[in-house]
Every structure is written in structure tokens, then in C-alpha cells.
Amino acid sequence: MTTLTSNKPDKVRDKVHRVLLGKKQILVTEDEPLLVQLEREGIHVEYQCREGYCSSCSIKLLWGHVEYPFEPLAWVQSGYMLACCAIVKSDIEIAFFSD
């Protein structure tokens, strides 16, 4: 479900995907990682490094597909994703660990 791409995708830029979070639905693009896009929607996600090495932004990925433009240093538990550096590649459903 989680794959690594060696280099930045080129044209598939303005693709829009749905992110389901509880009863909320947010539209995101592939231009930026999920974290910033959630923040812009006013959704608080825990973070620290925003660079993939601290795992603070780890959230549940219930289904769907995300990719990391670079391999994060933090351990990614299976069924989880790092919001700070993951690019959403399909419609996905996420949850916070506390939900």
C-alpha cells in the first residue's frame, strides 16, 4: 500500500483526491504532502520535524495509497503513514491514533 518513488512525479500534478477523516471529507492534491493540506483545512495534526524523521505525525491510513518522494527515516508502522512527507495518490481514509 505504501511505495517509494525514487524521483518526483512530473505531470500528474493537479490530480485531486478525497481524504476521509471521520465524517469530514477534504480534497487534496499531489503537489504537497498531506500534513500542510490538512492544516490549511484547520485540522490539527501532531508534528515535530516535518521531515520524516521523528514519527510524531504518524496517523492511521485505513485504506488508499500514499507515496513518499524520499524514504522517511522514521519507522512507519504497518497501517500508518507519516503525514508530513506522504503524497496522497488515491482517495484515502485516515484516522488519528486517538480515534
Binding site: 501532531e46 516535518r50 504518524s58 486517538s98
Partner: protein, 377 residues
């Protein structure tokens, strides 16, 4: 089996487990069984900083203006951090180097410990700057009951592992009688169990125990007080985030059984004890918060909020190593702290104009003659 500083056996280091295999012989980094540790080394090296690069001159003035109970909060946190980094500056080396079996992990441990010595040096830098007699502060660390209580919990697993490994290295497997400690059973199983619990307790130390101090430091800085200190804490927090990722990798690799199948069984057996290590530490940190605020709170923080933050961060850390969360606190009660914890090279809070890496080599001209009055040269 005794430790050798240059193991003469021929073996394939790519097939060794992380710990309790062959002693490392050739320090080579062209190939790694677990490339993550090589990446952590590189990242840690890229983080290198020196405390003296951070200008603390206005902190001295700020400190004198703090209320007495705020000075107590500030100094107590510094003492506790000094204790934690004293332990971390040596213990990964002393406890883990004799049993590590992969060159990249061996060097990660050394690089990690070295960065802790920078943290310790930064406390001396801070303390020297705000008080005239640093000895008073340092001496209190070994006698202050609130601090020594914690010293026991942070060192007990390390100390037990060190004792067991030294028995193993001198006497081998078996049950050995140690005066005043009784009979100690040394088996591969008991050694690996002691190792697993040690790594868990280190994860707790770095991923939870520092965060009460971090929160207080940043709460001062939110009021534009002790900002030099906050810049140092930011750099320390960046290092600690990397260290906790290192121990999370060790724990998760062990639990997966991919590195050493026996470790997966041990991780399973230790689940409850590991859970208790997290919960006990969280309770101690909450007590610590009450001790800090015993004579009064500070703006933006009190013992209750800090306690909730401890619970929250403990949940985050437990989840990261595959444990069920332990506390009901579901939201970060002090979300503003993240803007302080974030690395400078990532832009997040535009209001945060001053970036600590810009301070490298800075000279502060904002000093008057009287600032040097009570410096002894």
C-alpha cells in the same frame, strides 16, 4: 565469551544480528544490514552544532527578572536535563558497544552518545551564563530528592544490562553469585530480555522525559524570555527526535523478529513490562510537573496542563512502538509547542522570524558595562 576490540574471526557482518552476535571487527560502511543506522549517522552529523554559537547575553538579564518560583522552574529543569544527558552521554556506549554486532549500528551508538555530550556541554554554557556559582547547581543534582528519584528509574535498566554483560564476558553463561546482588542468571534469553527492556527505557527517556522541560523552556520563550535557552533547547529537541527514531527502529526491528527471531518472542513476553515502563515514566513526569509548580505556575502552563501533555506525548510514543495507548488524553493541550519543536529548515510559523541557525557566530552588541559586573574573570 570475552569482548575483543578487534575480532579476528572471519564472518559475514551482513548476516549478524544487531546485538549478541560477533564483536564488530572492521568498521566499514559501504554495506549495511540495516541501512537506517547509516542514514541516522549521516543525519546526526548534519545536525552538528556547538552551544557557544548561541548567544545567551539577554538570558542573563531575563533570568534576574524572573520571579523566584519561575527561577525554580527554570533551574530545576536544567538540573533534570543535566542528569538525563549525563546518563545518555555515556550509557549507550558502556551498555551497548560491548554487545553490538553491526558496524553501522556500532557507529550510530557512538554518534548518538557523542551528540548527548554536546547537550551536556550546553547546560554548562547556560548555567555559567545565568548564575555566578555553577557548582551550587551541579552539586544539587546528586542530592536533590526529586531528581535522584528519577535517576534510579533512568539508570536501572542500563545498570542491570551492564552488570549482566560483564558477568557474561568474564564468567560466561550460567548462574553467578555476586556479593550483595545474589545469584544472577546469565542466559542468552535473560541477556536479550535485559537488552530489550533497556532500549525501551531509553526510548522513554528520550521520547517522554525531556518533554516537560522542553515545554517549560518554550513557554518562557513565548513570553520572549530566556530565548537563547529556547534556541539551544530547539537544537537539543531536534537531536532527541532523531535519537528516539533510532530506538524505535531498534525496538521495532527486534519485535519483528527479522533481525533475530528470538527477539520477537522476547518482545512479546516483555510487552506488559514495557507498557509499564512507559506508564511509570509518565506518572513520574507528572509528579515532576507538580514539583516544578509547587510555588506557583507560569503563564501558559500549569501542572495540570503539563500533566495532560505528558499523557498525550506518551500515547504518541507508545503507538509508535506498537503498544496500545495508555491515557485518555486525545489532544495536545499545548499545540503551540510544535512550532517551537520544528526544525528551522522547514518553514512553518511565519511569525517565528528568528531562526537559530542564523545565530551561528553572532556577536551580541546589546550589552552594557554592568552586565559584566558579577562575572569573575
Amino acid at each position: 565469551m570475552s569482548y575483543s576490540t578487534f575480532n579476528r574471526k572471519q564472518f559475514d557482518s551482513m548476516k549478524e544480528p544487531m546485538f549478541f552476535g560477533e564483536n564488530v571487527n572492521v568498521a566499514r560502511y559501504d554495506q549495511q544490514k540495516h541501512p537506517i543506522f547509516e542514514k541516522l549517522i549521516e543525519k546526526q552529523l548534519s545536525f552538528f552544532w556547538r552551544p557557544e554559537e548561541v548567544d545567551l547575553s539577554s538570558d542573563r538579564k531575563d533570568f534576574q527578572k524572573l520571579e523566584e518560583h519561575e527561577q525554580h522552574i527554570f533551574l530545576s529543569n536544567l538540573k533534570y536535563q543535566t542528569l538525563l544527558d549525563s546518563v545518555q552521554g555515556r550509557s549507550p556506549n558502556v551498555a551497548l558497544l560491548p554487545i553490538v554486532s553491526l558496524p553501522e549500528l556500532e557507529t550510530w551508538i557512538e554518534t548518538w552518545s557523542f551528540s548527548e555530550t554536546i547537550h551536556s556541554r550546553s547546560y554548562t554554557h547556560i548555567i555559567r551564563n545565568i548564575v555566578n556559582d555553577p557548582t551550587k547547581i551541579f552539586d544539587d543534582i546528586t542530592v536533590n530528592k526529586e531528581i535522584t528519584k528519577r535517576a534510579d528509574s533512568v539508570s536501572v535498566y542500563y545498570d542491570r544490562l551492564i552488570e549482566m554483560v560483564s558477568l557474561y564476558n568474564t564468567l560466561g553463561l550460567g548462574t553467578h553469585h555476586v556479593p550483595e546482588h545474589g545469584d544472577i542468571e546469565i542466559s542468552m534469553r535473560s541477556l536479550k530480555k535485559a537488552l530489550y527492556l533497556t532500549v525501551a527505557s531509553v526510548n522513554v527517556l528520550e521520547a517522554i522525559r525531556f518533554y516537560v522541560s522542553f515545554a517549560c523552556s518554550f513557554a518562557f520563550a513565548e513570553r520572549t524570555l530566556m530565548e537563547g535557552n529556547a534556541k539551544i533547547i530547539k537544537l537539543i529537541a531536534r537531536d532527541e527526535a532523531l535519537h528516539l527514531t533510532g530506538t524505535q527502529h531498534m525496538l521495532n526491528l527486534m519485535a519483528s523478529g527479522k533481525d533475530d527471531p528470538e527477539m520477537a518472542i522476547i518482545a512479546q513476553e516483555c510487552k506488559e513490562e514495557m507498557r509499564n515502563i512507559f506508564i511509570e515514566a509518565a506518572e513520574q513526569e507528572k509528579d515532576w510537573a507538580s514539583y516544578l509548580f509547587k510555588d506557583g505556575s507560569m503563564i501558559g502552563l500549569n501542572a495540570q496542563i503539563l500533566g495532560q501533555y505528558v499523557e498525550y506525548i506518551t500515547n504518541v510514543r507508545m503507538q509508535a512502538v506498537g503498544l496500545d495507548t495508555a491515557f485518555g488524553t486525545k489532544h495536545n493541550p499545548i499545540p503551540w509547542i510544535n512550532a517551537w519543536l520544528v526544525s528551522d529548515n522547514v518553514q512553518v510559523a511565519p511569525q517565528e522570524a528568528e531562526i537559530s541557525s542564523y545565530l551561528v557566530g553572532q556577536i551580541d552588541n546589546d550589552l552594557s558595562e554592568s552586565d559584566f559586573d558579577d562575572f569573575d574573570l
